[in-house]
């Protein structure tokens, strides 16, 4: 297939995934900020949201202060922020339009419908209720697009490249939450933090839609090192780094088999996966959770670059 087509499919999937992630972060932030200060401490959750979204620098260049209004605008509706939810959907649709024939009718309807409906929300919600509805809608739109792709696409390279986009983006997103919140998850933290941190931990789990999953996997109360374990090493957790890499290796192998050739992308993905498979949580904590996450984000970016170089240009 055309490299441009594959590139468009890859980024289309990435941007839809990113929009969903932003919506989940904002939902969680909104929830945390409604709790009395005694429960969550005095940290600025809005600032943390911007950091988790990975655009602290761009934000600081635009706004003097991180609060509900500025962060909501920047992450959702700003045209100046290339990764705002609005821009994610705009870019996703532009990509979809350019590769219209590589999409199924259902996928096109999903992304085009989302884009048309986006106009309904104008330049921002008029109330908190409407804002919550907006965030729900963003997540539903992403589910609808992903579901259409899953149910209707032929299982060929077009599908595999769009899946690669999803998992690279998802791995990056989960890693970024860990990067911003790692200090909450250090084993020592429990002793100093005490019950105060429960809501922060729950928020982390919610932002990767894993609160219920946690209880099913561990069958015990929320413990920070178990959260780290769930988000990093557990295969069965769909947004964990391990699960993302299981999928990345799998889809890259599909492509390599179909094209009859392995390349740097396959090697890079397998290396990262092996690293995750051979790690134990105790050891990661010993060597430094923050360093581990930092290295992971770099490796993930390198895989993205390798995929681009090998296939998309």
């Amino acid at each position: 297939m055309l490299s441009r087509t594959a590139d468009n499919l890859y980024w289309l999937a990435r941007y839809v995934e990113r929009a969903e992630y932003l919506a989940r972060i904002l939902e969680v932030t909104q929830r945390l900020t409604t709790l009395p200060l005694a429960y969550v401490g005095s940290s600025n959750e809005w600032e943390s949201a911007v950091a988790t979204a990975g655009c602290a620098h761009a934000f600081a260049a635009t706004y003097p202060e991180a609060n509900e209004e500025t962060v909501t605008d920047f992450l959702c509706f700003s045209t100046a922020n290339p990764s705002s939810i609005r821009n994610c959907f705009e870019i996703a649709r532009t990509n979809a339009r350019a590769v219209r024939t590589a999409l199924t009718v259902e996928m096109w309807d999903a992304i085009n419908g989302t884009w048309l409906e986006l106009k309904r929300f104008g330049n921002g919600p008029t109330s908190r209720e409407e804002f919550m509805r907006f965030l729900r809608w963003v997540q539903e739109s992403s589910l609808r697009f992903d579901g259409s792709a899953y149910r209707t696409m032929l299982r060929n390279d077009a599908y595999w490249f769009s899946r690669l986009g999803i998992y690279i983006e998802r791995a990056d997103n989960t890693a970024r939450i860990l990067d911003v919140k790692y200090h909450m998850l250090l084993p020592a933290h429990e002793r100093v933090g005490g019950p105060l941190d429960y809501f922060q931990w729950a928020a982390i789990l919610r932002s990767v839609s894993a609160l219920t999953a946690y209880h099913w996997v561990y069958r015990e109360s929320v413990k920070p090192w178990l959260i780290a374990d769930l988000l990093i090493l557990r295969d069965e957790m769909p947004r964990s780094l391990a699960s993302c890499y299981e999928n990345l290796v799998d889809y890259l192998d599909h492509i390599a088999r179909a094209y009859g050739r392995q390349g740097p992308a396959q090697h890079q993905a397998r290396n990262v996966r092996a690293r995750l498979e051979n790690s134990r949580m105790e050891e990661i904590f010993q060597r430094g959770l923050h360093e581990f996450i930092g290295e992971f984000i770099d490796s993930n970016n390198r895989l993205g670059a390798a995929i681009t170089e090998q296939y998309l240009m």
Partner: protein, 472 residues
């Protein structure tokens, strides 16, 4: 102006046989059913129209082309005559273009004036002496045809560059099959759905000699902002070929490649929907970002086929049009089956004096003009306008041609007041490959929806109809 010939009722109100079933059906079907179907068609088209619309952005709604649910019907013998005429004309056009870029016999014989060719901006000196595969230049031709009575069809215009509209022909039929199965059951309508297959076969048949046994065909589009992008993506999808933009292609050692996920892949045939001017910034407009640098060198080396060929404008220019009957005779030694609209060339003295004597009944056009500019419509002009135009014409007669005002045929059409006659034209699509000429029966019928209007252009209130050719 004479009373227009109606394709259902003739000029005297006698029902013509091809329309017998449609006429009976119209009499039986309650008006509300027809109205309901009409609205249903609108809904269906709007849904497709969403895809039309999104490409047009803000003014998308206006760019939806209205669809009329009553088919335009041609009887088998009528179509047989048209098909024979179209084949003949396209064969002559291909030989003429080849001649113009090679031996120039038609110019030496004084049949087409040299200045019309060499001073024409669409003439491409790069094509002089250039071999193209199987000497075919116009692989996809769109010939616009109008009808004035039961026997007489005229060619109004030849489109030998990048004719569009075939997606409407195909979509119109799909909608009709969905909405009017019972009407199809009462007719034997020749299918058009094989057009993409025929097009692909045509394109593959003209692959360069250096290509592999299974040549790679692509469709080159200017991109999503082009008004015909929907058609480009629609056709690429139906053909099962890659829809490429200029940036997806590159040239290495005079061979064209596309950038794919499996590395560079050789391209053999390019169905291009980009004008000559924009094809290659190294050969034509240097500011073109749509083309592929070096494409002309690959083309001249014979490593890629462009469909249509470069420089075909020399056959569909308005100035050349009036010579088409002579062109047919010159190359084929046959009488043209399809007539031209009678045309007076003001560059010739006898013609000029006739035109000057009959200005109030003629349409006078500039030879290089388009879009109706610099045109005199005699029957609709006042004395002062005619006098002014007369002076203009006398000062530079070479720049003008004149034609009679035609009474285009009408077809029954659903309009707000009910079913009423409206003027139509027809654009059949003629495919020329190495092995043969292929024409799917029918084409795109455009209809002027305003009462009395002769303008079928979609920008001015024109719509489209499905075109039925009845089988033998």
């Amino acid at each position: 102006m004479a009373v227009a010939f109606d394709e259902m009722n003739g000029t005297d109100g006698g029902l013509r046989p091809a329309y017998g079933e449609l006429s009976r059906w119209l009499a039986e079907v309650p008006p509300d059913v027809l109205d309901y179907r009409r609205r249903e068609a609108e809904v269906l088209f709007r849904r497709i129209g969403i895809t039309f619309a999104v490409y047009g952005e803000a003014d998308a709604q206006e760019r939806l082309i209205p669809f009329d649910v009553l088919p335009r019907i041609l009887a088998a013998p009528e179509w047989d005559m048209l098909r024979a005429g179209l084949e003949q004309r396209i064969r002559a056009i291909n030989q003429y273009i080849h001649d113009v870029y090679h031996r120039r016999e038609i110019l030496k014989a004084g049949i087409v004036p040299e200045d019309l060719v060499f001073q024409n901006p669409v003439f491409r000196p790069e094509m002089n002496g250039q071999k193209v595969p199987h000497d075919i230049y116009v692989h996809i031709g769109g010939i616009d045809i109008v009808r004035v009575d039961a026997e007489t069809f005229y060619v109004l215009e030849d489109n030998a560059r990048t004719p569009s509209g075939v997606s409407y022909m195909l979509e119109n039929r799909e909608i009709m099959l969905r909405l009017f199965p019972e009407l199809f059951a009462r007719h034997r309508v020749a299918p058009v759905e094989n057009y993409p297959d025929e097009l692909l076969a045509t394109l593959k048949s003209v692959a360069p000699a250096t290509s592999s046994a299974d040549p790679t065909v692509v469709l080159l589009t200017p991109g999503v902002y082009n008004s015909a992008y929907y058609e480009h993506s629609f056709l690429a999808d139906k053909l099962g070929v890659e829809l490429v933009e200029g940036r997806d292609l590159f040239i290495k050692d005079e061979v064209v490649f596309m950038r794919t996920t499996q590395g560079p892949k050789r391209v053999d045939v390019i169905y291009r929907r980009i004008d000559d001017d924009f094809l290659d910034p190294l050969a034509f407009r240097p500011d073109s970002a749509l083309g592929v640098p070096g494409l002309m060198s690959a083309y001249q080396a014979g490593n890629v086929t462009l469909a249509n060929a470069v420089g075909t404008g020399i056959a569909d220019d308005k100035a050349v049009y009036s010579y088409m009957p002579a062109i047919v005779k010159f190359y084929l030694g046959e009488e043209p089956i399809l007539k031209n609209v009678p045309t007076w060339r003001c560059r010739e003295e006898e013609h000029l004096s006739y035109v000057l004597d009959h200005l109030e009944e003629l349409v006078v056009k500039e030879v290089h003009g388009s879009g109706g500019y610099g045109m005199l419509i005699g029957p609709k002009a006042d004395k002062a306008t005619i006098a002014a135009f007369r002076a203009k014409l006398k000062s530079n007669p070479r720049n003008f041609i004149a034609q009679p005002t035609l009474a285009l045929s009408t077809c029954p059409t659903c309009v707000d007041e009910g079913v009423a006659p409206r003027h139509v034209d027809l654009r059949p699509f003629v495919l020329t490959g190495r092995d043969r000429i292929r024409i799917v029966p029918g084409g795109l019928t455009r209809v002027a929806l305003k009462r009395g209007s002769l303008v079928v252009n979609s920008s001015q209130g024109g719509g489209t109809k499905d075109t039925w050719v009845l089988d033998h």
